[in-house]
Protein backbone atom coordinates (compact mmCIF):
# COMPACT_ATOMS: atom_id res chain seq x y z
CA UNK A 1 0.00 0.00 0.00
CA UNK A 2 2.81 2.31 0.95
CA UNK A 3 4.34 2.10 -2.52
CA UNK A 4 1.21 3.70 -4.02
CA UNK A 5 1.24 6.75 -1.79
CA UNK A 6 3.81 8.73 -3.76
CA UNK A 7 2.29 7.95 -7.20
CA UNK A 8 -1.15 8.94 -5.87
CA UNK A 9 0.26 12.16 -4.47
CA UNK A 10 1.92 12.78 -7.82
CA UNK A 11 -1.41 12.14 -9.57
CA UNK A 12 -3.17 14.58 -7.26
CA UNK A 13 -0.61 17.26 -8.04
CA UNK A 14 -1.14 16.61 -11.75
CA UNK A 15 -4.90 17.08 -11.29
CA UNK A 16 -4.25 20.56 -9.91
CA UNK A 17 -1.70 21.32 -12.65
CA UNK A 18 -4.07 20.10 -15.37
CA UNK A 19 -6.97 22.06 -13.91
CA UNK A 20 -5.25 25.41 -13.83
CA UNK A 21 -3.34 24.87 -17.07
CA UNK A 22 -6.63 24.23 -18.90
CA UNK A 23 -8.43 27.03 -17.06
CA UNK A 24 -5.88 29.72 -17.82
CA UNK A 25 -5.06 28.58 -21.33
CA UNK A 26 -8.66 28.19 -22.55
CA UNK A 27 -9.31 31.91 -23.28
CA UNK A 28 -5.98 32.26 -25.12
CA UNK A 29 -6.63 29.11 -27.15
CA UNK A 30 -10.13 30.31 -28.06
CA UNK A 31 -8.86 33.81 -28.90
CA UNK A 32 -6.06 32.41 -31.05
CA UNK A 33 -8.60 30.24 -32.86
CA UNK A 34 -10.87 33.23 -33.41
CA UNK A 35 -8.01 35.33 -34.77
CA UNK A 36 -6.99 32.53 -37.13
CA UNK A 37 -10.58 32.12 -38.31
CA UNK A 38 -11.00 35.86 -38.84
CA UNK A 39 -7.74 35.95 -40.77
CA UNK A 40 -8.90 33.10 -42.98
CA UNK A 41 -12.11 35.01 -43.66
CA UNK A 42 -10.25 38.07 -44.86
CA UNK A 43 -9.68 40.20 -41.76
CA UNK A 44 -6.16 41.51 -42.33
CA UNK A 45 -3.31 42.16 -39.92
CA UNK A 46 -2.95 45.88 -39.18
CA UNK A 47 -5.89 47.11 -41.24
CA UNK A 48 -9.60 47.43 -40.54
CA UNK A 49 -12.01 45.14 -42.31
CA UNK A 50 -15.68 46.18 -42.41
CA UNK A 51 -17.77 43.08 -41.77
CA UNK A 52 -20.95 42.19 -43.65
CA UNK A 53 -24.14 42.99 -41.75
CA UNK A 54 -24.43 40.27 -39.06
CA UNK A 55 -26.88 37.57 -40.15
CA UNK A 56 -27.04 33.80 -39.60
CA UNK A 57 -25.30 33.45 -42.97
CA UNK A 58 -22.46 35.94 -42.35
CA UNK A 59 -21.69 35.50 -38.62
CA UNK A 60 -18.13 34.52 -37.73
CA UNK A 61 -17.92 35.07 -33.95
CA UNK A 62 -20.40 33.97 -31.27
CA UNK A 63 -23.28 36.28 -30.33
CA UNK A 64 -22.97 38.99 -32.96
CA UNK A 65 -25.55 41.75 -32.66
CA UNK A 66 -27.65 42.18 -35.83
CA UNK A 67 -28.13 45.83 -34.80
CA UNK A 68 -24.44 46.70 -34.96
CA UNK A 69 -21.89 47.12 -37.75
CA UNK A 70 -18.44 45.77 -36.91
CA UNK A 71 -14.99 46.68 -38.20
CA UNK A 72 -12.14 44.48 -37.00
CA UNK A 73 -8.36 44.79 -37.06
CA UNK A 74 -5.99 42.04 -35.95
CA UNK A 75 -2.76 43.25 -34.40
CA UNK A 76 0.64 41.84 -33.55
CA UNK A 77 2.93 44.31 -31.82
CA UNK A 78 5.89 41.98 -32.29
CA UNK A 79 5.57 42.86 -35.97
CA UNK A 80 5.00 46.55 -35.22
CA UNK A 81 7.70 47.56 -32.72
CA UNK A 82 6.79 51.26 -32.87
CA UNK A 83 3.14 50.48 -32.40
CA UNK A 84 -0.01 51.13 -34.39
CA UNK A 85 -1.99 54.25 -35.18
CA UNK A 86 -5.65 53.36 -34.75
CA UNK A 87 -8.34 55.77 -35.92
CA UNK A 88 -12.10 55.43 -35.76
CA UNK A 89 -13.75 57.81 -38.23
CA UNK A 90 -16.48 60.12 -36.91
CA UNK A 91 -20.05 58.89 -37.32
CA UNK A 92 -23.50 59.85 -36.08
CA UNK A 93 -25.11 57.61 -33.48
CA UNK A 94 -23.43 55.17 -31.15
CA UNK A 95 -19.88 54.09 -31.96
CA UNK A 96 -17.02 52.64 -29.93
CA UNK A 97 -13.42 51.61 -30.45
CA UNK A 98 -12.53 48.65 -28.23
CA UNK A 99 -9.32 46.72 -27.67
CA UNK A 100 -9.11 43.03 -26.69
CA UNK A 101 -5.93 41.30 -25.55
CA UNK A 102 -4.89 37.69 -26.16
CA UNK A 103 -6.71 36.61 -22.98
CA UNK A 104 -9.99 38.09 -24.34
CA UNK A 105 -9.99 41.01 -21.88
CA UNK A 106 -11.46 44.27 -23.14
CA UNK A 107 -8.70 46.48 -21.76
CA UNK A 108 -9.77 49.81 -23.27
CA UNK A 109 -12.92 51.16 -24.94
CA UNK A 110 -13.25 54.67 -26.37
CA UNK A 111 -16.72 55.98 -27.18
CA UNK A 112 -17.05 57.92 -30.42
CA UNK A 113 -19.77 60.41 -29.45
CA UNK A 114 -19.89 61.73 -32.99
CA UNK A 115 -16.19 62.54 -33.14
CA UNK A 116 -13.13 60.87 -34.61
CA UNK A 117 -11.04 58.92 -32.10
CA UNK A 118 -7.37 58.29 -32.77
CA UNK A 119 -4.80 56.57 -30.52
CA UNK A 120 -1.39 54.94 -30.62
CA UNK A 121 -1.40 51.29 -29.56
CA UNK A 122 1.87 50.31 -27.90
CA UNK A 123 3.14 47.31 -25.95
CA UNK A 124 3.00 47.41 -22.15
CA UNK A 125 6.78 47.82 -22.12
CA UNK A 126 6.36 51.32 -23.58
CA UNK A 127 4.55 52.57 -20.48
CA UNK A 128 7.14 55.35 -20.03
CA UNK A 129 5.99 57.01 -23.25
CA UNK A 130 3.96 60.13 -22.60
CA UNK A 131 0.78 61.15 -24.34
CA UNK A 132 -2.97 61.25 -23.82
CA UNK A 133 -3.49 59.27 -26.99
CA UNK A 134 -1.53 56.17 -25.93
CA UNK A 135 -3.17 52.82 -25.30
CA UNK A 136 -0.99 50.06 -23.84
CA UNK A 137 -1.71 46.48 -24.81
CA UNK A 138 -1.13 43.80 -22.14
CA UNK A 139 -0.30 41.28 -24.89
CA UNK A 140 1.50 41.41 -28.20
CA UNK A 141 -1.49 40.10 -30.14
CA UNK A 142 -5.14 41.00 -30.00
CA UNK A 143 -8.20 42.33 -31.79
CA UNK A 144 -9.43 45.90 -32.23
CA UNK A 145 -13.15 46.23 -32.83
CA UNK A 146 -15.28 49.18 -33.89
CA UNK A 147 -19.00 48.92 -33.21
CA UNK A 148 -21.53 51.28 -34.77
CA UNK A 149 -25.26 51.21 -34.17
CA UNK A 150 -27.05 50.22 -37.40
CA UNK A 151 -30.53 48.81 -36.67
CA UNK A 152 -31.59 49.17 -40.32
CA UNK A 153 -30.05 48.34 -43.67
CA UNK A 154 -30.03 52.07 -44.48
CA UNK A 155 -28.04 52.74 -41.30
CA UNK A 156 -25.61 49.98 -42.23
CA UNK A 157 -25.18 51.33 -45.77
CA UNK A 158 -24.47 54.82 -44.42
CA UNK A 159 -21.88 53.49 -41.96
CA UNK A 160 -20.19 51.41 -44.66
CA UNK A 161 -19.04 54.58 -46.40
CA UNK A 162 -17.78 56.09 -43.14
CA UNK A 163 -15.96 52.93 -42.08
CA UNK A 164 -13.75 53.16 -45.15
CA UNK A 165 -11.92 55.97 -43.31
CA UNK A 166 -11.13 53.84 -40.23
CA UNK A 167 -7.39 53.23 -39.95
CA UNK A 168 -5.26 50.62 -38.23
CA UNK A 169 -1.70 50.94 -39.46
CA UNK A 170 1.88 50.34 -38.39
CA UNK A 171 3.70 53.49 -37.27
Amino acid sequence: MKKFVLPLLFGAVMVVVGHFAALYSAPNVIMTGAMTMLSERGVPLHAFSFAPRPTPQTQTVVRPSPDLAYSACLYDLDAAPRGLRVTMAASEGYSSLSFFDASTNNFVTIRGEGKEASVRLLPQSASAEAGDDIVLSPSAKGIILIRRLTPTQADYDAVAAIAADDQCGVI
Binding site: F4, P7, L8, F10, G11, A12, V13, M14, V15, V16, V17, G18, H19, F20, A21, A22, L23, Y24, A26, P27, I30, M31, A34, P54, T55, P56, Q57, Q59, V61, V62, R63, P64, S65, P66, D67, Y94, S96, S98, F100, S103, T104, N105, N106, F107, T109, R111, P138, I143, L145, L149, P151
Partner: protein, 200 residues
Amino acid sequence: MLKRIAIYALTGIFGLGLGAYTALAMSGLLPGDRRAEAAIDLDGWMGDLTQGSADASPYLRARIARHGLLALAKSEAIYFIRATDDTGEVLSEDCTYRLAGGPMPAGWWSVTLYNADSFLPDNTDQALSFDASRAGDGAWSAIVSPVRPDDQSNWISSRNAGQFDLTLRLYMPDAETLNAPAQAITAPSVERVSCTKEPS
Protein backbone atom coordinates in the same frame (compact mmCIF):
# COMPACT_ATOMS: atom_id res chain seq x y z
CA MET B 1 12.24 0.60 -12.19
CA LEU B 2 10.35 0.53 -15.49
CA LYS B 3 7.18 -0.47 -13.65
CA ARG B 4 7.59 2.47 -11.29
CA ILE B 5 8.05 4.87 -14.20
CA ALA B 6 4.94 3.46 -15.86
CA ILE B 7 2.87 3.97 -12.72
CA TYR B 8 3.98 7.59 -12.43
CA ALA B 9 3.33 8.19 -16.12
CA LEU B 10 -0.17 6.74 -15.93
CA THR B 11 -1.15 8.63 -12.78
CA GLY B 12 0.33 11.80 -14.27
CA ILE B 13 -1.60 11.50 -17.53
CA PHE B 14 -4.81 10.59 -15.71
CA GLY B 15 -4.31 13.47 -13.28
CA LEU B 16 -3.71 16.03 -16.03
CA GLY B 17 -6.76 14.80 -17.93
CA LEU B 18 -8.98 14.84 -14.86
CA GLY B 19 -7.75 18.30 -13.95
CA ALA B 20 -8.43 19.65 -17.44
CA TYR B 21 -11.88 18.05 -17.44
CA THR B 22 -12.84 19.62 -14.13
CA ALA B 23 -11.65 23.03 -15.36
CA LEU B 24 -13.77 22.77 -18.50
CA ALA B 25 -16.76 21.50 -16.51
CA MET B 26 -16.53 24.25 -13.91
CA SER B 27 -16.22 26.86 -16.67
CA GLY B 28 -19.27 25.52 -18.50
CA LEU B 29 -17.24 24.58 -21.56
CA LEU B 30 -18.35 20.97 -21.90
CA PRO B 31 -20.61 20.27 -24.90
CA GLY B 32 -24.28 20.82 -24.14
CA ASP B 33 -23.64 22.79 -20.95
CA ARG B 34 -26.42 25.38 -20.67
CA ARG B 35 -25.74 26.49 -17.12
CA ALA B 36 -27.70 29.50 -15.99
CA GLU B 37 -26.19 30.54 -12.67
CA ALA B 38 -24.48 33.93 -12.54
CA ALA B 39 -23.57 36.66 -10.12
CA ILE B 40 -26.71 38.67 -10.94
CA ASP B 41 -30.18 37.19 -11.44
CA LEU B 42 -32.74 39.70 -12.69
CA ASP B 43 -35.91 37.61 -12.69
CA GLY B 44 -34.18 34.92 -14.74
CA TRP B 45 -31.90 37.22 -16.73
CA MET B 46 -28.38 36.16 -15.70
CA GLY B 47 -25.36 38.45 -15.85
CA ASP B 48 -22.01 39.32 -14.33
CA LEU B 49 -20.65 42.84 -14.38
CA THR B 50 -17.04 41.64 -14.45
CA GLN B 51 -17.65 40.12 -17.89
CA GLY B 52 -15.16 41.25 -20.49
CA SER B 53 -12.74 42.72 -17.96
CA ALA B 54 -9.55 41.64 -16.22
CA ASP B 55 -11.62 41.45 -13.00
CA ALA B 56 -13.52 38.41 -14.27
CA SER B 57 -12.77 35.13 -12.52
CA PRO B 58 -10.78 32.67 -14.65
CA TYR B 59 -13.88 30.46 -14.85
CA LEU B 60 -16.07 33.31 -16.15
CA ARG B 61 -13.33 34.44 -18.55
CA ALA B 62 -13.11 30.94 -20.04
CA ARG B 63 -16.88 30.69 -20.37
CA ILE B 64 -17.20 34.13 -21.97
CA ALA B 65 -14.38 33.30 -24.39
CA ARG B 66 -16.51 30.39 -25.64
CA HIS B 67 -20.01 31.90 -25.45
CA GLY B 68 -19.48 35.68 -25.60
CA LEU B 69 -16.11 36.40 -27.17
CA LEU B 70 -15.31 40.11 -27.59
CA ALA B 71 -17.83 41.17 -24.96
CA LEU B 72 -17.29 44.73 -23.77
CA ALA B 73 -16.43 45.67 -20.20
CA LYS B 74 -19.20 47.10 -18.03
CA SER B 75 -18.35 50.76 -18.51
CA GLU B 76 -19.53 50.37 -22.11
CA ALA B 77 -22.05 47.54 -22.03
CA ILE B 78 -23.57 44.95 -19.72
CA TYR B 79 -25.18 41.68 -20.79
CA PHE B 80 -27.89 39.43 -19.37
CA ILE B 81 -28.93 36.05 -20.74
CA ARG B 82 -32.34 34.47 -20.31
CA ALA B 83 -32.74 30.75 -21.14
CA THR B 84 -36.13 30.09 -19.49
CA ASP B 85 -39.62 31.57 -19.56
CA ASP B 86 -41.43 33.07 -16.58
CA THR B 87 -42.42 29.58 -15.36
CA GLY B 88 -38.86 28.28 -15.52
CA GLU B 89 -39.28 26.17 -18.68
CA VAL B 90 -36.43 26.17 -21.21
CA LEU B 91 -37.07 28.46 -24.20
CA SER B 92 -37.88 26.47 -27.33
CA GLU B 93 -38.90 27.17 -30.90
CA ASP B 94 -41.87 24.87 -30.27
CA CYS B 95 -43.46 27.64 -28.24
CA THR B 96 -44.60 31.22 -28.71
CA TYR B 97 -43.64 33.81 -26.09
CA ARG B 98 -44.54 37.39 -25.35
CA LEU B 99 -41.51 39.44 -24.35
CA ALA B 100 -42.56 42.62 -22.55
CA GLY B 101 -40.77 45.42 -20.78
CA GLY B 102 -40.35 49.14 -20.37
CA PRO B 103 -37.64 51.79 -20.54
CA MET B 104 -34.10 50.59 -19.80
CA PRO B 105 -31.45 52.59 -17.89
CA ALA B 106 -29.02 52.69 -20.81
CA GLY B 107 -28.16 54.77 -23.84
CA TRP B 108 -29.25 51.92 -26.11
CA TRP B 109 -30.46 48.38 -25.54
CA SER B 110 -31.45 45.31 -27.50
CA VAL B 111 -32.74 41.76 -27.02
CA THR B 112 -31.30 39.17 -29.44
CA LEU B 113 -32.05 35.48 -29.88
CA TYR B 114 -29.24 32.89 -30.08
CA ASN B 115 -29.27 29.12 -30.44
CA ALA B 116 -27.62 26.64 -28.06
CA ASP B 117 -24.28 27.16 -29.82
CA SER B 118 -24.44 30.92 -29.13
CA PHE B 119 -24.97 31.77 -32.80
CA LEU B 120 -27.87 33.40 -34.61
CA PRO B 121 -30.22 30.57 -35.66
CA ASP B 122 -30.13 29.58 -39.30
CA ASN B 123 -33.06 31.40 -40.86
CA THR B 124 -33.57 34.27 -43.27
CA ASP B 125 -36.37 36.05 -41.42
CA GLN B 126 -34.25 39.14 -40.64
CA ALA B 127 -36.02 39.32 -37.28
CA LEU B 128 -33.56 38.13 -34.67
CA SER B 129 -33.53 41.12 -32.37
CA PHE B 130 -35.63 43.93 -30.96
CA ASP B 131 -33.99 47.16 -29.89
CA ALA B 132 -34.54 50.53 -28.28
CA SER B 133 -34.93 52.30 -31.62
CA ARG B 134 -38.22 50.43 -32.17
CA ALA B 135 -39.41 50.30 -28.57
CA GLY B 136 -40.24 53.96 -28.04
CA ASP B 137 -40.16 55.59 -24.61
CA GLY B 138 -42.76 53.56 -22.75
CA ALA B 139 -43.94 49.97 -22.41
CA TRP B 140 -43.12 47.64 -25.30
CA SER B 141 -43.64 44.05 -26.27
CA ALA B 142 -42.53 41.59 -28.93
CA ILE B 143 -43.61 38.12 -29.94
CA VAL B 144 -40.92 35.40 -29.99
CA SER B 145 -42.08 32.63 -32.31
CA PRO B 146 -41.00 30.54 -35.31
CA VAL B 147 -43.57 32.18 -37.61
CA ARG B 148 -44.36 35.86 -38.12
CA PRO B 149 -47.44 36.96 -36.12
CA ASP B 150 -50.54 37.73 -38.17
CA ASP B 151 -50.92 41.16 -36.60
CA GLN B 152 -48.41 43.98 -36.62
CA SER B 153 -46.69 42.84 -33.42
CA ASN B 154 -42.96 43.28 -33.07
CA TRP B 155 -41.38 39.92 -33.85
CA ILE B 156 -38.26 37.98 -32.93
CA SER B 157 -37.96 34.84 -35.04
CA SER B 158 -37.08 31.54 -33.32
CA ARG B 159 -37.30 29.51 -36.53
CA ASN B 160 -34.60 26.79 -36.57
CA ALA B 161 -33.41 27.88 -33.13
CA GLY B 162 -34.21 24.68 -31.23
CA GLN B 163 -33.67 25.46 -27.58
CA PHE B 164 -32.48 29.05 -27.45
CA ASP B 165 -31.71 31.97 -25.18
CA LEU B 166 -32.24 35.71 -25.29
CA THR B 167 -29.43 38.20 -24.68
CA LEU B 168 -30.27 41.61 -23.24
CA ARG B 169 -27.58 44.17 -24.06
CA LEU B 170 -27.50 47.48 -22.21
CA TYR B 171 -25.05 49.88 -23.84
CA MET B 172 -23.80 52.96 -22.01
CA PRO B 173 -25.37 51.93 -18.69
CA ASP B 174 -25.68 54.76 -16.15
CA ALA B 175 -23.78 54.78 -12.85
CA GLU B 176 -26.83 53.78 -10.81
CA THR B 177 -27.27 50.69 -12.98
CA LEU B 178 -23.68 49.65 -12.47
CA ASN B 179 -23.90 50.21 -8.71
CA ALA B 180 -27.21 48.42 -8.16
CA PRO B 181 -28.41 46.63 -11.31
CA ALA B 182 -31.17 44.72 -9.52
CA GLN B 183 -32.75 47.97 -8.38
CA ALA B 184 -32.15 49.97 -11.55
CA ILE B 185 -33.23 47.46 -14.19
CA THR B 186 -36.79 46.26 -14.62
CA ALA B 187 -36.12 43.03 -16.46
CA PRO B 188 -38.43 42.11 -19.37
CA SER B 189 -40.93 39.33 -18.76
CA VAL B 190 -41.03 36.23 -20.98
CA GLU B 191 -44.57 34.85 -20.95
CA ARG B 192 -45.21 31.52 -22.68
CA VAL B 193 -48.33 32.01 -24.82
CA SER B 194 -48.68 28.63 -26.52
CA CYS B 195 -46.76 25.55 -27.64
CA THR B 196 -47.05 23.03 -30.43
CA LYS B 197 -45.35 20.49 -28.15
CA GLU B 198 -45.13 20.21 -24.39
CA PRO B 199 -42.04 22.08 -23.14
CA SER B 200 -39.23 19.68 -22.19
